[in-house]
Symmetry: C2
Subunit: 241 residues, 2 copies
Amino acid sequence: MYKETNKRSIVKGITWRFVATSTTMVIVYVFFGNIELAIATGLLESVAKVGLYWGHEKIWQRVKWGRKKIEPFNLWFTGLPLSGKTTIADKVYKKLEKLDIPIERVDSKDIREMFPNAGYSREERNRHIKRIGHLVQTLQKNSVSTVCSFVSPYHESRKMIREMVKNNVIIYIKADIESCKTRDYKGVYQKALNGEIEKFTGISDIYEEPKYAEIVIDTDSISIDEAVDLIVKYIRKHYVK
Amino acid sequence: MYKETNKRSIVKGITWRFVATSTTMVIVYVFFGNIELAIATGLLESVAKVGLYWGHEKIWQRVKWGRKKIEPFNLWFTGLPLSGKTTIADKVYKKLEKLDIPIERVDSKDIREMFPNAGYSREERNRHIKRIGHLVQTLQKNSVSTVCSFVSPYHESRKMIREMVKNNVIIYIKADIESCKTRDYKGVYQKALNGEIEKFTGISDIYEEPKYAEIVIDTDSISIDEAVDLIVKYIRKHYVK
């Protein structure tokens, strides 16, 4: 994935002008100027230079200098169940897609068939996250950026992701456990409280708050759309200049 | 991943010429022509047109028309263990990488950590292939082509891949079972014959020969390098024009 830099375009303009002006001057010199001849010159050069322009373009297409490679990044949303991770990540993904960069959404709902959730022990959760890390690596190798959202409650799995991938941005979606419970449209908190779901993060399993997060979104104090804007702004500033 | 078509470059040349020639003619008309003035014209236009050229370039960078999208393809190598799949696929991958298209190698050795091999029953093998199909889909969605090599011994799993992905090219690496046994540098055939490996394709599990394969390579009659050239030629003809 490449983007033209201003420098490249300016130098391209200068080299083209050198070719085009030399041609015009030679032609005008041969004709000696007056108004009709100026028009004739214009017509003649319009024929000649279309071909030259085309050749010039083709030569530049082979020159790699001055093209900017957009480095892939990985957004990693972490937070309690129902903190709003998926909602915010979905919206961020849609906005980033419009920037015309290759980008992939990675959420439990998207990768269920690739990596079925194996279990909820600490070891199983970490193994699952590691597999997702391998997927992100494979995508990054091909210049594809990623928007991942997983509870990922443990320090070590988030650290592992940071070590595996490039340009990792941890976004901690901070929400009070009581707020999450009130948003419980899936009824999962109630089930966890009733003991119907084992090892449910926030109720019967620990959520280790990130010590290092590039962005912290406090969902109790800012709206979803404000959070989305803030994250997109960060990405535009750091990765898609 | 985009490539400039000839048509786009030619039309770009024509529109630029329209801008440049109009400018030259207006300037020459204002000056009335003679040799010194022609040079002055040239100098003046060289200053003015560099800026115009640059603006023209920037506008064209926003125009999407005439850019050719390279459609991702999936090469699927199937064949008996030690038929030469991985060797040929590795070489094909290296050659295709040089075409400057995003492409990923997918082989057991590459994806072991993402999808650990779960088992060798018909159902388990098919489930494994299906996960790989999801990976290929994810990559294709981001314009990344793939070079996959798996024994994939059953009709139904190869058919499933064909239904899941775009531009699927099945390459059947045909080798006589006796030839495979003589190439048995890993000692796996010997172990299978001794009964140390269960459900080993070709010995204690069936290999269903593909009925539909875009390319069939008979390794008993052509060399590895000939096979590689043949496959690369096919891809260049059909997918990377």
